[in-house]
């Protein structure tokens, strides 16, 4: 559409593009008294009435951008540094951080789309209250009204139950900025509450690496360039970590071989030298088979396991007694000779590494499978070596103060008296408050529906949801929605109206990274990024800690001493308080302000984790045999564990999407242009047997639920497998893979994260053609 113009209007249109003309125009208005004749007291105000600093009478010329440093906090390996370009108060575009060799000046398609998030007309703009949950009848309320209602509920619960255990928090990875742990801080500042603890992402692997090495600690991904042999096992960096690919390419350029092991022929797989389409969940069997071949061929690094291993002999004995290469290859669905050859190549290469993806541990045997792969890397002497390593993740750079998170309970608070453990992987205290008289009550984050249904004495009366689209991302959607009916008040803090907000009573609008002050690090690379407030928060949005602070003020006005969270905070000051000398030393900076000039990288003694070969296990060795694992109900050795028994004809995989990160980004217009609708990917043979053609509408169903969507036929998935990428497509699309994914636990995760993970990829379903 174009603006129609009279000749007078054309004069104006011309003047709009010219600073000088605009000033002349205003000068004439002032000289002729016309400016004074404008009321200037409507919605728009005159400069003269509001003082010289009001408004922005002059405008930046072409290229006159202000730049700010930002970070993408969306639970991604890459946690990119960004440079944001702001003109006249508007974020115009973003670039990758050039001072980080990892981000290296480039972003992924999601990152480049950030202005579409900030300026999406669909953003939640104001606090709003739904009259009748799920009714769609929303009234706009002020922050005062919202906080009055919420604080009233909090005080009512305390009065009724004698504690705040009826208030629960579920929060995860929507924003991993360090100050966002102020959400947990807000709950702590209110008293002892109920926390949904754990992580849906990677807990089984975290426990596995803790059993083996005493911690989860990966090599610097940038040293993959030095690797002579790379196995990417159950990871898809082409979708989920594009910045890591350049190191893999560099290694290839230097002669390294890249093998990709995945049930799906991914975009990463096609970039490898070799691709193995493994049967899902057979990763442990395959690793054991490769180990058996190394043993048989005398390719185990005897020196390394003797010097650095504990229980290796027992592990070898177990393998000799229970594993053959033929058996393992058959379990994995791979040819024996290929398994043998790659095992030999891996052992011969120096250094060789395995990237253990999070997908492969989302199984009922996922944790023990990671242990078997760890062992394969260790027995070839590749742990502790630059370019080597069993790469999974790390929290090595996360040593902030957690000033916003650590808040004391108000005096006299009453809480839970039962056993407790860590509240997630970032809980550095690891249950240290267990010695206190009272603690929080902890529920499994991955079973939110069931936990709410089962909760008693007290039930969950008030549920606070932040940084998490629970109804889209948590498991067994129908159960969750049913459970929510039990909750008296649900408060959701979010950017967009998603299926979780749909079930809320009150929604509070929150900020994007560009409207916020925080600091970010990665669980993969070793860079530190400042996140500056580049633009004013749009509409009435507030950050998590600003919300906490405002709630604290209201509560203390109503009942002095009822909330310890600091009032009247400054978001930037709160960010500064997260830094400490340890962080400064680790990153070689003297002040947080150094980060305004660019990103900083941790000063590591080696790019390799465990380079001193002093492991954090009880023995100080790499524990092929872990007594802690045994104590926690697992086998001491990484023994074979069968996968979940099929309960429907086809396996259902719901991995990460290319154009989204969990439920973020895919709802944006640019992503819809690239990826307009969800699809289920079906092998032509399977589709043919069921009379399904490319583009047909199908019903995918299992005992948990059903989804209707279009089918796309592809040889990229095995014939016995259905695949649909998890994503929230926006308010106009009800697609949700968790209508089909139940909440059955993976084997590990409780030890270090408080709850086991979920067997996301041990799901099964059937498919049939239906009318479009």
């Amino acid at each position: 559409m174009h603006e129609s113009k009279s000749s007078g209007a054309q004069n104006i249109a011309l003047a709009l593009g010219n600073n000088l003309s605009r000033r002349s125009f205003l000068k004439i208005l002032m000289m002729t008294g016309a400016a004074a004749a404008l009321p200037g007291t409507g919605l728009l105000r005159s400069f003269s009435q509001e003082g010289p600093v009001f408004g922005r009478a002059t405008f930046a010329g072409p290229g006159a951008y202000q730049t700010f440093r930002n970070a993408c906090p969306r639970n991604c390996y890459d946690t990119c540094g960004m440079v944001s370009y702001v003109k006249d108060g508007v974020l115009e575009f973003v670039e990758g951080e050039p001072t980080s060799t990892y981000t290296n000046g480039g972003l992924c398609v999601k990152g480049y789309a950030y202005p579409r998030t900030v300026y999406s007309p669909d953003r939640i703009k104001y606090p709003m209250r739904q009259i009748g949950r799920g009714s769609g009848n929303w009234e706009r309320i002020s922050w005062e009204e919202a906080l009055d209602a919420i604080s009233g509920k909090i005080l009512e619960i305390k009065e009724k139950d004698g504690s705040l255990l009826g208030m629960a928090l579920t929060k995860y990875s929507g924003n991993f900025g360090i100050t966002h742990y102020g959400v947990e801080g807000m709950l702590s500042s209110l008293g002892y509450t109920t926390r949904f603890v754990g992580t849906p992402c990677w807990p089984a692997g975290i426990d596995a690496q803790n059993y083996d090495m005493g911690n989860m600690w990966c090599n610097d991904p940038e040293d993959m360039a030095q690797s002579k042999y790379i196995i990417v096992w159950g990871a898809n960096p082409a979708y989920c970590s594009v910045h890591s690919l350049k190191y893999i390419y560099e290694a290839k350029k230097r002669g390294a071989k890249v093998v990709v092991i995945d049930p799906v022929l991914t975009q990463t797989a096609v970039k490898g030298d070799e691709y193995w389409q493994i049967k899902p969940g057979a990763d442990g069997a395959l690793a054991l088979a490769m180990a058996r071949h190394l043993i048989d061929q005398g390719l185990v690094s005897r020196e390394w396991v003797a010097a650095n291993g504990l229980g290796y002999d027992e592990y070898e004995a177990y393998i000799k007694a229970n594993v053959t290469v033929e058996w393992g290859a058959e379990q994995a669905g791979l040819p024996v000779d290929v398994v043998k050859r790659v095992a030999e190549e891996f052992a011969a290469a120096d250094p060789a590494t395995i990237w253990i993806g999070y997908g492969m541990q989302r199984h009922v045997n996922g944790g023990v499978n990671v242990r078997a792969i760890d062992a394969l890397v260790a027995m070839t002497g590749n742990v502790g070596k630059p370019g080597g390593g069993a790469r999974y993740g790390h929290l090595f750079t996360w040593g902030f103060n957690y000033n916003a998170m650590v808040q004391a309970a108000p005096e006299g608070s009453v809480g839970y008296t039962g056993a407790t453990g860590p509240k997630g992987e970032f809980d550095t205290g690891q249950g240290a408050d267990a010695a206190a008289t009272y603690t929080d009550r902890t529920f499994n984050i991955n079973k939110i529906g069931q936990e709410i249904l089962d909760a008693q004495d007290p039930p969950v009366r008030l549920l606070w949801i932040a940084n998490k689209n629970v109804v889209s991302q948590d498991f067994d959607k129908n159960k969750i929605v049913k459970a929510f009916e039990k909750v008296e008040m649900i408060v959701a803090v979010d950017l967009f109206f998603n299926p979780t907000v749909e079930q809320a009573d009150i929604v509070l609008p929150t900020v994007t990274p560009f409207e916020d002050w925080t600091v970010n690090v990665s669980y993969w690379h070793y860079w530190l990024h400042l996140n500056e407030q580049a633009i004013k928060p749009l509409f009435e949005t507030k950050s998590d800690i600003e919300i906490a602070s405002a709630l604290s003020a209201v509560l203390n006005a109503k009942q002095p001493g009822s909330c310890t969270f600091p009032q009247n905070i400054d978001a930037k000051e709160m960010m500064i308080k997260e830094f400490n000398d340890g962080i400064y030393q680790l990153f070689g900076i003297t002040s947080w302000e150094d980060l305004r000039k660019g990103a900083a990288k941790a000063k590591l003694p080696s790019s390799a984790s465990w380079s001193d070969l002093k492991f954090a296990t009880p023995s100080g060795k790499y524990e092929f045999k872990s007594e802690i694992a045994q104590t926690n109900g697992h086998t001491a050795l990484p023994e074979y564990k069968a996968g979940r028994e099929a309960y429907a004809p086809l396996r259902l995989l719901t991995p990460h999407a290319k154009h989204g990160l969990h439920s973020q980004f895919q709802n944006l217009d640019w992503m819809h242009d690239l990826n307009p609708e969800p699809l289920v990917y079906v092998h032509p043979k399977t589709a043919g047997a069921k009379g399904i053609g490319d583009g047909d509408t199908v019903r995918v169903f299992n005992p948990t639920g059903e989804i209707r969507l279009k089918a796309q036929l592809t040889n990229n998935v095995p014939a016995d497998t259905l695949l649909m990428y998890e994503a929230w497509f926006g308010a106009k699309n009800g697609f949700n893979v968790n209508l089909l994914v139940d909440d059955v636990s993976s084997d590990m995760g409780a030890y270090k994260t408080g709850s086991p993970g979920v067997a996301i990829h041990d799901q099964f379903a059937d498919i049939e053609k239906v009318a479009a």
Partner: protein, 181 residues
């Protein structure tokens, strides 16, 4: 002089309303201008419909921001059209107190600018203000029909809002003829 100047003011306030009471107040102002409007029995219902269309939290049925209609495929807030209208306000010595928070091209702000120009033209003869008025009316006519079209096409719109949208269309059509080029 625009025929329905008071209506422009009340239309502006209606589309900027934060709650049922403010909607009612603006609506009563419109009715007092003589606009043929239906009687309202439940202002809360009007507010629910208003929020679905213009406020949220669900994706908006008819977002009231000019840039979404004027900037082609670049359907985002704070677009080029937002910048242009901010510049016009500045040329008039005006600015929005919500600058950088609420886009300057919110319908209510553009209507407010038009109302202020009309008020000034009632007391001073200013060719510059005439030009600004022509520009603004031309601009509003370029995007408001599409905006009104989205209101009319939205499901379950409260009849009061349809009536106000009609009043908006009438108000913009009753101004002095503009030479369209």
């Amino acid at each position: 002089m625009i025929a329905q100047t008071p209506s422009i003011l009340h239309l502006s306030r209606f589309f900027f309303a934060a709650n049922a009471a403010e909607l009612q107040s603006a609506y009563e102002g419109l009715a007092s201008d003589g606009a043929p409007l239906p009687i309202v029995t439940d202002w809360r219902e009007v507010a629910f419909s208003f929020n679905r269309l213009f406020v949220g939290p669900r994706a908006l049925q008819a977002p009231p921001y000019a840039s979404l209609y004027l900037d082609g495929d670049d359907t985002r807030l704070m677009g080029a059209s937002t910048s242009r209208i901010r510049q016009l306000y500045a040329m008039l010595g005006l600015a929005s107190p919500w600058q950088d928070r609420i886009p300057d091209d919110h319908l209510a702000l553009e209507l407010d600018a038009l109302w202020q120009i009309e008020q000034a033209l009632a007391t001073v003869a200013s060719p510059q203000l005439h030009d600004a008025r022509d520009y603004l009316i031309g601009r509003l006519r370029a995007w408001v029909p599409a905006f009104v079209g989205r209101i009319q096409a939205a499901p379950q719109v409260h009849p009061v809002i349809v009536a106000v949208a009609d009043a908006l269309t009438r108000a913009l059509s009753r101004v002095d003829p503009i030479t369209v080029c």
